[in-house]
């Protein structure tokens, strides 16, 4: 053991972190996102992506989806700490591998080049419901929806085909079947 001059304990066991998706229902009020994000940064939790928007205008509820990594103990803490926040109504969390849940991200690709290159791009995106949102003789904006790593892959693949700009959302999640998060 290294000699310590600190009166604090030395970190020891390191567990392997996993990727989890948190879904948080909050009152749509000023500062609520700062509270959630501040909790993550203040306690040293990681945010890989974040998506937030109002989902119920009558009840004034927003839904925040956060992709994060952590050991099971840290994930537990994140859930419990989020639940403590006053504007938070409920919290659900899922492992990324969870088959019962759909995770989706959306990306917009701007491709500049000749027609045949754009065609190639569209072709490459075929699996991910490509939609052309804008088209000129020399450019196109293509929208796809896919998993995070699929978008990563497409991002790489389209670069040589004239991709000049990518814009993407954070992941959103929903359970399969008729049931909803409690």
């Amino acid at each position: 053991m290294p000699k310590s001059k600190s009166a604090y304990s030395i970190p020891t066991k390191k567990q392997k972190p996993d990727t989890y998706i948190f879904v948080v229902w909050v009152d749509n009020e000023a500062g609520v996102l700062a509270r959630v994000v501040g909790l993550f940064s203040g306690r040293g939790y990681n945010i890989e992506s974040l998506a937030v928007a109002e989902v119920d205008a009558v009840k004034n509820i927003s839904r925040i989806t956060i992709v994060t990594t952590g050991t099971p103990q840290v994930i537990d803490q994140i859930r419990l700490q989020l639940t403590k926040l006053v504007p938070v109504h409920k919290v659900a969390e899922f492992k990324r591998e969870d088959k019962g849940v759909i995770f989706k991200e959306m990306a917009l690709f701007k491709v500049v080049g000749k027609r045949n290159k754009i065609e190639k791009c569209l072709n490459a995106c075929k699996k991910f419901n490509p939609v052309i949102l804008d088209e000129t003789k020399t450019s196109a904006v293509i929208q796809i929806t896919a998993l995070r790593r699929e978008i990563d892959k497409m991002n790489k693949k389209l670069k040589p085909l004239g991709l000049i700009s990518t814009s993407r959302t954070g992941a959103v999640a929903m359970t399969r079947g008729a049931k909803i998060f409690n």
């Binding site: 009166a7 103990q73 403590k84 006053v86």
Partner: protein
């Protein structure tokens, strides 16, 4: 049509409906409308502090000694930033505070106006919740909600930021909402099954220990009562965290003293060797656990806490009971009483061996120190102070450092809410203003701040407050001319390089007392210590007691860095024949 009230009037209406009697504050431009309204509300007394941090700590002292929320009123900008330390302190130690801050008028927010700061942004991480009231119609609702958030569940500080134009604006007042919207935040939902499981563990345990904390104090006097019954019913040994002192009588035989970094030998060894650990309202703080991997390695662990996020945060437990300590312990006691016959017979004999072991540890007498006839030993000073005040219902606050640990070790508390100290944040300068708040809540009681000379200088200005309101607080300074705990760590961990820990150019505390208009007493020799302490107790008014103590004394026992509970450094009496010491020294 009901009368329209201004925002300032609504603030006071809410305070009256919440039965607030005292507020601690400091006026300024952005809260002037509220201060203007003060005169119309004789049931609410305002205590003018000398610095907003003092207001916060005074409110903490008030809250912790009375069980009621402390209320703070400060202005925008510097007023709000000055109170941040106190809010953070209250957040760490779960003290209910309601802080009302003024803000620049709504149309100036975001323009870098005079004395503007992002108060809700700054205080977001150090409050349970905060509000910026931008609409006068929200004000009464927010005020009442603030009191509810501060005082329910695990208590804590909240802040309400009120722009100046909102203080002038008018609306109808709304009474507090009777119906409680809990939003999933009620945490008193434990089941009888959990209680049964615990009782089963109790009856099987051979080496049990109860480890109680500040949650017992926060749960109210009934919790302490229930805890005493529980300890009596089971016959188990009990130890306490710094914040939990007083929940169980400090002079009782079943009490092993405080545990943790400067806890007793018997308490820490019992924690290490036990087979059943029952945590009641404590949070496995790092000053308690030492090295996590080797913390109480062979025990089943039970954790009773109102805050679900405390469970499994640091230490994995086998049984978690989320609930209010009073209700949980009362339920346990009832359950035990029901099956008393079988239980009491088998169990107390079960743990007889364990008690023998504990008695052996006790023989180490780990709080001992080498007393002296020439210089006052700080431990001796605290012991004498205890002996001379124990027959009064004394309230003790402290600053942070060696004196704080000596106070915790040598002053025995028999009732809850008598001990106010900054544990989580460790705020030097906490004790003096906290004593002001305690004395406001208990005007007839003896209130002592056991202080260090370095700490007390951080908030010394509040003596002026004490003199203004004729608060007879006693500031008992263990003056060793060092930031003692810093010096101790430098001695043990940094090869005696006493970097910047000596207090050069200390003020003459006698003259300082005179300048503030209170009494100064100085003690140099052990021979007249008792008389001087008695003089302090008998004096009807605030006192600064300058007790010159041995500057080289260290606070023992001590768990060195990264060590488990059973590897403590003991005091000088044990150092020669103590094997741990030799090994410990090399490892520190």
């Amino acid at each position: 049509m009901p009368k329209l009230l201004t925002g300032a009037e609504i603030v006071f209406k809410c305070l009256e409906d919440q039965k607030v009697e005292h507020i601690f504050g400091y006026p300024g431009g952005a809260v002037l409308p509220i201060y203007d309204e003060l005169k119309n509300h004789p049931s609410i007394k305002h205590i003018l502090v000398r610095h907003e941090q003092g207001a916060g700590h005074a409110a903490e002292g008030y809250a912790r000694s009375s069980g009621k929320p402390g209320v703070v009123l400060v202005t925008s900008g510097p007023g709000a930033t000055n109170v941040v330390t106190a809010l953070t302190d209250a957040y760490m130690d779960s003290v209910p505070l309601v802080c009302i801050s003024g803000q620049v008028p709504t149309h100036l927010i975001g323009t870098d106006a005079f004395q503007e700061c992002d108060t809700t942004g700054i205080t977001r991480p150090c409050t349970k919740h905060n509000w910026l009231v931008k609409d006068i119609n929200d004000l009464s609702k927010v005020m009442h909600e603030a009191f509810r958030v501060a005082t329910t569940g695990r208590p804590g500080p909240v802040l309400i930021d009120i722009p100046k134009d909102i203080q002038f604006a008018k609306t109808k007042y709304k009474k507090p909402n009777k119906e409680k919207k809990l939003n999933g935040k009620s945490h008193n939902k434990f089941s009888q099954d959990q209680i049964d499981e615990l009782v089963k563990l109790l009856s099987k345990a051979k080496k049990p220990i109860i480890y109680s904390g500040g949650g017992v104090i926060n749960s109210g006097p009934k919790a302490s009562q229930a805890l005493r019954e529980f300890v009596d019913l089971t016959g188990f040994p009990i130890t306490s965290t710094l914040q939990g002192l007083g929940a169980y009588p400090g002079d009782d035989n079943q009490f092993l003293g405080m545990l943790g970094m400067h806890g007793t030998y018997e308490a820490n060894n019992a924690m290490h060797d036990c087979d059943l650990l029952i945590n009641i309202g404590a949070r496995f703080d790092d000053r308690i656990t030492g090295k996590i991997d080797e913390f109480s390695p062979n025990s089943k662990k039970v954790h009773i806490d109102i805050d679900p996020s405390s469970i499994n945060k640091i230490i994995k437990v086998d049984l978690a009971i989320v609930g209010d300590v009073t209700s949980v312990i009362s339920k346990i006691n009832k359950t035990i009483a029901k099956r008393k016959n079988g239980h009491s017979k088998s169990n107390k004999s079960n743990i007889a061996k364990w008690w023998e072991q504990i008695e052996k540890w006790k023989e180490k007498n780990s709080l001992n120190f080498v007393n002296s006839n020439e210089s006052i030993k700080p431990q001796h000073a605290v012991k004498r102070l205890y002996e001379l005040t124990k027959n009064k219902d004394t309230y003790v606050t402290t600053e942070v450092g060696q004196h704080q640990m000596w106070a915790a070790q040598h002053y025995k508390f028999n009732k809850p809410n008598r001990w106010m100290t900054s544990g989580g944040l460790g705020t030097m300068g906490y004790g003096l203003p906290a004593a002001v708040g305690v004395q406001i809540a208990h005007p007839e009681k003896l209130v002592i701040d056991i202080a260090g000379e370095a700490s007390v200088l951080m908030t010394m200005q509040e003596m002026s407050t004490a003199v203004q309101y004729n608060l007879p607080i006693k500031i008992f300074i263990l003056n060793n001319q060092y930031m003692g705990m810093v010096r101790q760590w430098q001695e043990l961990l940094h090869e005696k390089n006493y970097s910047e820990s000596y207090s050069e150019a200390l003020p003459d505390f006698m003259k300082m007392a005179e300048a503030y208009g209170c009494k100064g007493i100085k003690a140099n020799s052990p021979a007249d210590l008792d008389n001087k302490i008695q003089e302090m107790i008998d004096y009807d008014g605030p006192v600064i007691f300058d007790c010159h103590v041995d500057p080289n004394e260290n606070c023992f026992p001590m768990i060195p860095s990264g060590k488990p509970h059973n590897q403590m450094i003991l005091g000088p009496n044990d150092q020669e024949d103590n094997k741990i010491k030799g090994k410990g020294k090399a490892l520190v």
